[in-house]
């Protein structure tokens, strides 16, 4: 099962037989005070650096969230997408919980976008899925509903089943459905990550669907988060996770993902790994000779 995203100049394929798809999480104002203020004043310049840094770090897709309180989020999101598409061909994941913002984003975006996200709530699905169908986009869906975030993998499976049926009913191919099995911090519940891993495994077994999640969530409230994130992703990948909205500016985390690609047979003969190694060596040599001069 392949989820194919595109921009005018690039195609990205997410799949269980593909190298892991890294979705850069950085273009998001939550918890970034300065960025929030800039966005409120219509200053989008910080985004350019986020784009460049994340692509240099290894992002395959860029998540774009413009959730700033007290602003016109649809207009802001639309502006941000136009700006990003003028800099790069890396496909975009349009991230908002506001329907109007998703709509504005989809209308602006050139290519096939990934949309983040819809929940398993009936009224949300009735609003979002027709938009996805109309624009031929792909959608991330979270298996939670009106009653809360399910504590067990079995309950998450029940809601995923409901989402699969709704997606089929709206005539959207299952290739374009990406389930977010819900990643919560292990700092607040020692079982949280185990439940996520179990859900990933079960969804892959039953439907073979692609999956993504907010990987950095798992380490919230804990020290040395990078190491936890770097340990989590390979474990999730071996259970069947095919992409993540994640920190791609920290080499440790990206390296562990690319190492897992190789170890899990998704980077045959290590060609990506070796290419990456050579690029790093070349950069080191270049830096050393510059110092020498």
């Amino acid at each position: 099962m392949h989820t194919v995203l595109s921009s005018p100049g690039q195609t990205v394929t997410i799949g269980h037989d593909q190298p892991f798809c890294i979705i850069g999480e950085r273009i998001n104002p939550t918890g970034r005070k300065k960025f929030q203020l800039q966005l409120r004043e219509g200053d989008l310049s910080a985004i350019e650096k986020d784009v460049v840094d994340q692509i240099a770090g290894g992002a395959n897709v860029l998540d774009v969230n413009m959730g700033v309180p007290l602003t016109d989020e649809p207009a802001l999101l639309s502006k941000a997408i136009t700006l990003i598409q003028s800099i790069t061909d890396v496909p975009i994941c349009i991230d908002s919980s506001i329907i109007e913002a998703l709509q504005a984003g989809l209308e602006t975006y050139q290519g096939k976008a990934l949309v983040n996200s819809v929940t398993g709530e009936d009224d949300r699905m009735e609003l979002v899925l027709p938009l996805i169908k109309k624009h031929g986009a792909a959608i991330i869906a979270l298996p939670n509903d009106e009653t809360g975030i399910p504590a067990t993998a079995a309950e998450r499976m029940v809601i995923t089943e409901k989402i699969v049926r709704a997606v089929e009913k709206h005539g959207i191919p299952l290739e374009d459905l990406v389930i977010d099995p819900l990643a919560m911090t292990v700092g607040a519940d020692p079982e949280a990550v185990k439940i996520t891993l179990e859900t990933i495994y079960l969804i892959r077994e039953k439907w073979g669907l692609n999956m993504t999640l907010g990987a950095s969530n798992i380490s919230f409230g804990l020290p040395y988060r990078h190491a936890l994130n770097a340990a989590f992703l390979p474990a999730a990948m071996s259970h069947g996770l095919t992409s993540a909205v994640m920190d791609c500016r920290t080499p440790l985390i990206v390296e562990s993902v690319r190492a897992a690609d190789l170890l899990l047979g998704l980077d045959p003969w290590g060609s990506n790994w070796i290419t990456r190694f050579r690029a790093m060596e070349a950069a080191k040599t270049a830096a050393a000779s510059e110092k020498g001069v």
Binding site: T30, G67, P69, S97, G148, T185, G187, A188, L222
Partner: protein, 221 residues
């Protein structure tokens, strides 16, 4: 063990979150004639205050805060009926809920733990709390503070709706209203007409206490 030793041990064991030891020491203290208020105000609450201070400094992390809070809750469950008998005054009553349309509760639960640790009587209405449920809660529990949590930019506007409904019901001047959640800012709290905002659980306790003290001072003045 002298009473001072018990106080000291209770403080230390609460700080490291040793729930069985905290409960045992609490029972030992009561059996030995210590009052429930002494145990609560001289050992448990100062311990949780220390946890909060360390968390704010970045020396303590979320799981440590949780285990300390749980250790304290265990002792509190044992002390509560005894405290009720002696008629000891609580710090205040705090009615808490995640707003309608929102199911996120990790942050809210952390705040609850720290509030209980500070001696508040916390009533948690859970997630997806509609305005009418907040109002029914205010009428039933007569809280000093109503706390509302929202995790999404789409659900944050419920703060304003809730405050409007509480005002319409004629209850606005009876309660202090605090708001919080990942995307919430002080500015947003001001715009919706809340009395207080905090970015984390420990700060929430400090601000809750300050707001109650101010309100009580204003009433008595």
């Amino acid at each position: 063990m002298t009473h001072d030793d018990i106080i000291k041990a209770l403080f230390d064991e609460t700080l490291v979150g040793n729930a069985p030891a905290v409960l045992e020491l609490t029972k030992t203290g009561i059996a030995d004639g210590m009052t429930p208020s002494t145990i609560l105000f001289d050992a448990l609450i100062p311990a949780l205050e220390e946890v909060g201070a360390r968390f704010e400094r970045g020396d303590f992390f979320v799981p440590e805060m949780l285990v300390s809070g749980k250790a304290m809750s265990g002792a509190l469950a044992f002390l509560r009926p005894l405290l009720a008998e002696t008629g000891a005054e609580t710090v205040g009553t705090y009615l808490m809920g995640t707003v309608k349309g929102d199911v996120h509760d990790i942050g809210k639960n952390l705040v609850n733990i720290m509030l209980e640790g500070a001696g508040f009587n916390v009533i948690d209405l859970g997630v997806q709390v509609a305005p009418e449920k907040f109002i029914a809660g205010i009428l039933e529990h007569k809280p000093d503070i109503v706390g509302m949590s929202a995790f999404l930019t789409t659900t944050m506007p419920m703060f304003k709706v809730n405050i409007h409904e509480i005002t319409k019901a004629g209850l606005r001047d009876q309660v202090i209203i605090m708001v919080g959640g990942a995307p919430v800012t002080q500015e947003y709290a001001d715009v919706v007409g809340a009395d207080g905002f905090a970015a984390d659980a420990s700060t929430a306790v400090r601000i809750a206490k300050d707001l109650i003290a101010k309100k009580r001072a204003a009433v008595s003045a």
